[in-house]
């Protein structure tokens, strides 16, 4: 990861607190994400990792705190606005359009970029047709990149889990996001599938300079591919730094191994 230049802060999360009834999911969490880096959020089950991502994505509204994206500060994010600003995400429990083909699923990621109006689209002539072809070409690149050429027309509901995860990533990539939020992209995968997924994430990060925010609870994977790591435990931030710093952090060790020190 030497060629990569880490830039300024693009996403800045400040003092976020989120509770559901009496359960405090996140307590006063702050961290930042710099352009072009791979930033991981790790922590044991129930640490609040997905809640954090859902706050950034606008699915949850935090009770306290602000989130800044590219210099603009928000009390809470709006799902649609987030997509328009260039933040894409994948889902922990696959949220694909199961009845639709792989191509159509990934094409939905181009939705915000399709400009021609409904009337021309329906007639499939002129600019609308050319536009559709251009987007289709882009989607074909993603399909090649993710090595799922053979499954183009297959309804995603019929694909094995590992491939569905790739389609989920492909749909997010089709948005040409500035920031990519990945919610446990390697969950439930075998070693080989994990390696493939790591390769895709790193390639995206290095070739397109896409900033990646990654949630994982598999420590080994995260340490290999991230530039900086935030560690959450029971909704609190217990560590933040480079993988080496985090690895030697006593609190992190005890949270993961459960030993007292």
């Amino acid at each position: 990861m030497s060629a990569k230049k880490i830039g300024d802060v693009v996403l800045d999360v400040k003092n976020i607190s989120l509770s559901f009834g009496g359960v405090k999911a996140l307590a006063d969490i702050s961290f930042d994400v710099r352009e072009h880096e791979v930033r991981a959020i790790i922590g044991p089950n129930g640490a609040g990792k997905s809640s954090m991502l859902n706050c950034i994505n606008g699915v949850y509204t935090p009770q306290q705190g602000t989130i800044s994206f590219m210099g603009q500060t928000f009390d809470h994010m709006d799902s649609h606005q987030v997509a328009v600003m260039g933040i894409a995400r994948t889902f922990q429990n696959l949220a694909l359009f199961k009845g639709m083909s792989v191509i159509d699923n990934i094409m939905t990621g181009r939705n915000l970029r399709i400009k021609s109006n409904l009337f021309w689209q329906a007639l499939r002539i002129g600019p609308a047709q050319r536009e559709e072809e251009r987007h289709r070409e882009f989607v074909e690149h993603i399909i090649d990149f993710l090595e799922i050429q053979a499954y183009r027309k297959t309804p995603v509901g019929q694909l094995p889990y590992g491939l569905q995860k790739r389609v989920d990533l492909g749909r997010a990539l089709a948005m040409e996001p500035r920031v990519l939020l990945l919610d446990e992209p390697m969950a439930g995968m075998n070693v080989e599938e994990k390696q493939d997924m790591c390769r895709f994430v790193l390639d995206v990060n290095q070739e397109y300079g896409t900033t990646v925010v990654l949630i994982e609870h598999d420590m080994s994977v995260v340490m290999d591919i991230s530039d900086r790591v935030v560690v959450l435990d029971y909704g609190k931030k217990i560590g933040d730094g480079t993988p080496d710093e985090v690895r030697n952090n006593k609190e992190v060790i005890s949270a993961y191994l459960g030993i007292s020190h």
Partner: protein
């Protein structure tokens, strides 16, 4: 044999109208998970608007041509359905996002009664004619094959063509346009659709508008056959068994279900009726739906619901 064919054709024609109404239900259910009880009221409302605008427009604009008057009336009625879709999203759906299905169902019940009352307040509650120039005279087909031929209403044939055209346009819209793709995406998964920047609110307006247009077409066909009157709303009740038969999430299911119910009603009335003293037509559809609920609750084409436990 000729008589059988006549009954069969009559059933297909009636069934096609059930299909159109059922299609409205399916479109809205697929895209928003709302069981729209107001579909029948929308048929009446759209038909009333069409009938009255066709009456008023020539007077307003001083038009001579009835054809042009009808076209303008159709455009106005369609525009009204768009405003209605927009208002429903603004005033009702937007505030009920992520609520229980039952809550939404009750909301559409409210919309039903509002539309019934409001439509008759502004458009009047008498029986109105819709005259879009459909030919009324019957024709006889296959006179060479059967003695006396098969009696067919030309009006029904026209209606069938219009309905087929509408369904073809809808499937083109759903399968081939990027808006259609967005609609299918919303139908599959709201959250994922939002994450790629598909605006749910706009999609709901579009879906309710499309359902409004199918209601308008169904209302015009039905109204030009039997006149526009309050009983049109009961057509929606006939569409319920159609949906159970075809599956709540399937467009082809709505169409085929409608045809089966239409044909079943007519054939059972004619061929079974005499043995049980008649009146089968009224309850046949519901009995069939009941049988389906017992043995195939997801309908012919509906998605089988598999729950992880």
């Amino acid at each position: 044999m000729a008589f059988f064919l006549e009954t069969l054709l009559g059933g297909l024609m009636a069934g096609m109208l059930y299909s159109l109404v059922a299609l409205g239900f399916v479109l809205i259910f697929k895209a928003s998970g709302v069981f729209n009880f107001a579909q029948g009221a929308m048929v009446l409302f759209a038909a009333l608007a069409m009938a009255r605008f066709a009456e008023w427009v020539p007077g307003w604009l001083g038009l001579e041509s009835k054809y042009l008057g009808n076209v303008i009336a159709f455009v106005l009625a369609a525009a009204l359905m768009f405003v209605l879709a927009w208002l429903i999203e603004r005033l009702v759906l937007r505030h009920l996002v992520n609520q229980e299905g039952v809550t939404l169902l009750m909301a559409t019940l409210g919309i039903t009664y509002f539309l019934d009352g409001f439509g008759q307040t502004i458009f009047g509650s008498a029986i109105y004619k819709i005259d879009v120039g459909m030919p009324k005279e019957p024709v006889f087909l296959l006179q060479g094959t059967f003695q006396g031929g098969v009696l067919v209403n030309l009006e029904d044939v026209y209606a069938a063509c219009v309905a087929t055209l509408l369904v073809a346009l809808l499937s083109l819209f759903f399968q081939k346009t990027s808006t259609g793709r967005a609609l299918r995406a919303v139908a599959d998964d709201h959250q994922a659709a939002q994450s790629v920047g598909i605006p749910l609110n706009r999609i709901w307006v579009i879906v309710w508008f499309v359902a409004g247009i199918t209601a308008l077409v169904a209302g015009i066909i039905w109204g030009s056959k039997l006149g526009v009157q309050f009983s049109l709303t009961t057509v929606a009740l006939r569409a319920l068994p159609v949906i159970i038969l075809g599956g709540l999430t399937s467009v082809p299911g709505a169409i085929i279900g409608g045809l089966i119910i239409g044909v079943g009603e007519k054939l059972s009335e004619v061929y079974l009726g005499p043995f049980v003293g008649g009146g089968i037509e009224i309850w046949f559809a519901y009995m069939l739906a009941l049988v389906f609920l017992l043995f195939r609750p997801q309908g012919l084409f509906g998605e089988k619901i598999i729950d992880r436990v």
